[in-house]
Symmetry: C2
Subunit: 354 residues, 2 copies
């Protein structure tokens, strides 16, 4: 088992980020990183540690007036030739460096070194954030062990936010647009109906779609509808009888799940639209974040991606995104995190907790 | 091992077709059917049997003035809920009933029961006709054991032709049109370029394409360009950076491989077109078929699909398609073969050989 060094002098947040990047944890394969995180936290006497699947929760139990959550996901998208980690000047490169091994490293450092915080802290390191929601580790903890989360007054989700504060989050909807034709041998293709050819106007409509921008609490949420997959094909000499266009919609937190679903269905009224997942966003709720914004010293921006702040919002816990790394680099092969942001995030959160 | 009964009284061509349908042989999985065919033929003392991969060749060696080939492929496309075989009145249904277990059954019956034909006969039962050409069993025999085929004067390929004579065959070209974009997180999709959206005009151009019709020896060859697969997709929240549209072109036998390739490239001059396979067709050559047309008693029609008659044409052996089953049913889930055609084809070819 990989051993994570959280406390030794010289084992700083940069070295820890590299160690975490070099411990691959594509969604569904978080066992080794969860083992390493759990073992490192269990070695710390000031924390009560629980394991739920491949997620790990560690709580201080100091009887403070307030409790805060500091949370991050353990998984990454699939590798894209970007392992192992490398450091080039002030930037640390590698799979998950930005999304979100850097944030994990900050949280683990705080968990290990801030032994007597002014607020009680619940650290949550969870699995399967980058895949379909029913596998999400935070969802599972909220469902199976709600007491571990619901007693918090505020949550900081350490998703990359360029070390700024990103408030609320957009909702996300996944749907399959199923286009049906009729199978035939390609030598007599006119006997069938080519589903891939029928899908051309679906893709063109998606290419031409003009998304909206929605302003809430002074923050502009920028919507988007993207094709994420196209699948057609039976065999090399067969006219395909089905073409499935999978789309991913990001919608402003002021829209309900029902509104988001009606919107996508309304764009494709003549097609079979199968909604596979829809989760609402979270309103920014800037008035409910207490003094945290002052400590972090950053002007809040809207969070465009869906993040698990929405799960905290659903539990009644106000939450914001705050973490190292430029969110526009998430899921790119060249993702990186600035070393200075790793150190800055650790320092500001430490100040908040001390 | 399944045992095929080729000779017992009552074990007629219909029962044999059903037995062959019920012995699944999707391309690449022909081992069991090849074993059964080989064992059945080795039990016949008038045949010299050879095995090449999962293909089987059986020859009479009677020193006749002429030698003819009777050939068929052992494989089928993937099942589509059409197993096992069923007989409904005058039709026999099931995977491969039409393409081409019926033709195989006719050939096996002739091999077993016509022990002293007027022409020497080379029976060829071969693997992997329904997939890419470099796996084709007939190609492999021609390459590794050319002497088994090249001494023939005429070949009958028992592909479904509705018990008529289909002359020559069209060529076939397979190509991938690769559309490239740039990957990004879907929450910030404007940071990337969606390859699936860029593929919309490619599919529309294919949908709008008007194929040509080419007349040779009075036979009309009907060309066609079909999409057979579309593949795009990285993950549910990633803008895909590549969309591959696979096309299948059927072109008249008067066009060379080079002309066919230039034609498809000319339709997509601004895209990366990767030709994965191109094989020319076979001209009908009606004047070279000797008296066979009279015996079969059918007016020749053009063969629109590519068939392995082109491989015989390349060896200098004139060839035609003649077999039971409507070729327009090939590769459809509801394919069937008329019982009457099974019996008729067997009878006419038996007359020719006796």
């Amino acid at each position: 088992m990989t051993s994570l060094d959280l406390t030794t002098e010289g084992a700083d947040v940069v070295a820890l980020t590299r160690a975490l990047v070099d411990l691959p944890s594509e969604s569904g394969q978080e066992g080794p990183i969860a083992d390493a995180v759990e073992a490192a936290l269990r070695a710390l006497p000031h924390l009560a540690v629980e394991r739920v699947g491949n997620s790990v929760v560690a709580r201080t139990e100091l009887g403070r007036a307030q409790r805060v959550v500091i949370a991050g996901h353990l998984d990454t998208v699939p590798a894209a030739g970007n392992l192992p980690s490398t450091q080039q000047g002030p930037f640390l490169y590698g799979l998950g460096a930005c999304d979100m091994k850097g944030g994990l490293a900050v949280a683990l450092r705080l968990a290990a070194t801030v032994t007597a915080p002014v607020h009680d802290v619940t650290y949550v390191f969870y699995e399967c954030e980058e895949v379909e929601g029913d596998r999400n580790g935070l969802r599972r903890i909220a469902a199976e062990r709600p007491g571990l989360l619901a007693d918090a007054d505020l949550a900081v989700l350490m998703e990359p936010s360029d070390a700024g504060v990103e408030a609320g989050c957009q909702g996300v909807l996944s749907a399959d647009i199923v286009v049906r034709g009729e199978r035939a041998h390609t030598a007599r293709a006119w006997m069938g109906v080519n589903a891939a050819h029928l899908a051309a106007p679906v893709l063109q409509r998606l290419a031409d779609h003009t998304p909206e921008r929605v302003v809430i609490d002074g923050l502009e949420y920028r919507e988007r509808l993207s094709t994420v997959a196209v699948r057609a094909g039976v065999a090399g000499n067969v006219v395909p009888d089905e073409c499935v266009v999978s789309v991913n919609s990001r919608f402003a937190p002021s829209r309900s799940s029902e509104e988001a679903e009606a919107y996508v269905r309304g764009l494709f009224p003549e097609y079979d639209v199968q909604v596979t997942e829809v989760v609402p966003g979270a309103l920014p709720g800037l008035d409910r974040l207490g003094g945290l914004l002052d400590v972090l010293g950053a002007e809040p921006r809207p969070k465009l991606g869906w993040t698990d702040v929405a799960r905290f919002a659903a539990l009644g816990v106000p939450a914001l995104n705050y973490g190292p790394g430029d969110p526009s680099l998430a899921h790119t092969a060249g993702e990186y995190v600035p070393v200075e942001q790793l150190r800055g995030c650790e320092e500001r959160l430490r100040k908040w907790l001390l």
